[in-house]
């Protein structure tokens, strides 16, 4: 029986878990990736991170992005699911259509939207000009105030349908008798949502929130392709910082420290989220 687990475990440990340990070691050195010597410098990298304005911006952006994208993609997905709850051919067609962007590569989606947003030939601005709203035409990804919001719209467009699908599965799992007795009691739609649908949807809500949180913390392709962190560092996120310290400025020691910090954020955020959510669902029972 032990042999069953062995091949999967070995590959997983060696290629995914084991590298974390040399990683933690690198993060306490000044290694640039090429020098034969790695000088131990203790926690200096970690201290420096919190003095580095550029990384502080990336941390701030990572948190803004995660909170905003997680919240709005779940809200959007829930509304879509509630609208398509009915089993019919039309709602099935809408479901397929809304879900479609989720199977596209973020690479494709990013290029499409980069092009939509581009200041001169871009579709968004062309349409605004066509509608006579020249004043609203913007350099969406180049404007300091609009760049991050413009980027954050794209994951909502791509993954709203994905969140919807999970909520739909949750809705299908609610026994029809509950709705039937709610109807007999003569409750209106909002009351039914508040007292029947919402509490019984808890597993799907927890799943969606945790998955979106992890996914948003790990976001890379959208920002890498659409803005590459610009203008300045205004849309930089931690994943992009680590990437740049690997393949551009080879600061492996510093880069691994940023990677370790990102991991810490994900783990803490998820644990807190699970704690809060499971406390809530208990109070419903």
């Amino acid at each position: 029986m032990y042999l069953f687990i062995l091949p999967a475990m070995l590959i997983y440990l060696f290629f995914y878990i084991y590298p974390m340990f040399p990683g933690l070691y690198y993060s306490t050195t000044d290694w640039n990736g090429f020098a034969p010597r790695k000088n131990f410098i203790g926690l200096k990298n970690y201290v420096d991170i919190f003095k580095d304005a550029h990384i502080l911006t990336a941390i701030k952006n990572t948190f803004i992005y995660t909170v905003v994208v997680t919240f709005f993609s779940n809200l959007l997905g829930l509304i879509l699911a509630l609208m398509l709850e009915e089993r019919s051919r039309t709602s099935r067609a809408f479901r397929t259509l809304f879900f479609m962007p989720a199977v596209l590569s973020p690479v494709v989606v990013s290029f499409v939207w980069k092009y939509m947003y581009s200041p001169n030939s871009g579709v968004v601005n062309s349409l605004l000009r066509l509608a006579g709203l020249n004043g609203l035409a913007q350099d969406w990804l180049g404007n300091a105030h609009l760049a991050l919001p413009s980027v954050m719209l794209v994951p909502l467009w791509q993954w709203g349908g994905n969140v919807m699908v999970v909520f739909l599965a949750g809705l299908m799992n609610i026994p029809p008798e509950y709705y039937e007795s709610a109807r007999v009691d003569g409750v209106n739609y909002l009351q039914r949502f508040r007292f029947v649908t919402w509490p019984l949807l808890q597993p799907a809500i927890v799943f969606n929130l945790v998955i979106s949180t992890i996914g948003s913390f790990k976001t890379f392709d959208f920002i890498f392709i659409m803005t590459n962190g610009g203008p300045g560092y205004l849309t930089e996120v931690l994943t992009l910082t680590v990437y740049n310290y690997t393949l551009y400025t080879a600061k492996f020691g510093y880069g691994t420290a940023v990677g370790a910090l990102l991991t810490l954020f994900v783990v803490i955020f998820c644990i807190v989220e699970l704690r809060v959510l499971s406390r809530n669902s208990e109070s419903y029972v």
């Binding site: 290629f15 995914y16 990736g33 962007p101 790990k218 690997t246």
Partner: protein
Amino acid sequence: MNDGRRASGSRHWKGILYAVLVLYAMLILFPLLIIIIPTFQTVQESSRGILSFPSHFNFQNYADAWNQSHFLRALRNSILITGMTLVLNILLGSTAAFPIAIRPDRAVFKVSYYVFIVGLMLPFQAVMIPLYVLMGRTLKLTNTFPGIILVYLAMTMPLTVFFFSQFIKTVPREMEEASILDGCGYLRMFFQIFFPLLKPITAAIIIQNMIFLWNDLLVPLLLIDKDILKPIMPMVYVFFGTYYNKWNLAFAALVLGALPFLLLFLALQEQFIKGLSSGAVKG
């Protein structure tokens, strides 16, 4: 009378509901359709801007993008990498999940389970630099298919083991007892009795992992820099960067890159949607 009022009220709501749905459908479709226009434009037409419709279907951009990006080669690489990873992932993942699911009280298997689950949270960037050193310098596995497949196997294993073990737990225990009476070894017991029962969850796992593997950019960007080994997404990324000012060509490559998977989705849409929602709701 009361009923009549309620019916007309609900018809009213239905109208608004459909209007909202159609509006959102347009929002989803519009960016996808708008990038098709320039791919059929000739160079002269494209100078008149993006919204000028081409006079006829001109496939020259597609032919050029196909040839210049070595599309077939990239497609073959994508199929090889994704396919090999999926086969091994299902084989190794399901066997690993088996003891975890049927002997959950044994400490070794309990610990193994948690070790796998930790991987669900771990961002790739946390191991990116040391992995790059390990693969490139120590093992010399960059620019090889086995290298990228091993890394992908490690990355997809947590989700696969998690879903398989959750599902195997729901298989009745009598199956196991019966097979022990028949004198099956564990290996035969798993492959002859349990594995065939895992079809629905296997389909779901394949689809989830396939979406990630086929569309991923970061891992090939890190581990493969030889053009002849690049799968589709990094190829599209590089091609797009090179031809950004010739966007008729760049978008044709983008459409080509998106098409194989989109067609697969349209052919298997029900399975896709079912696959992605399993795991959200237990049982």
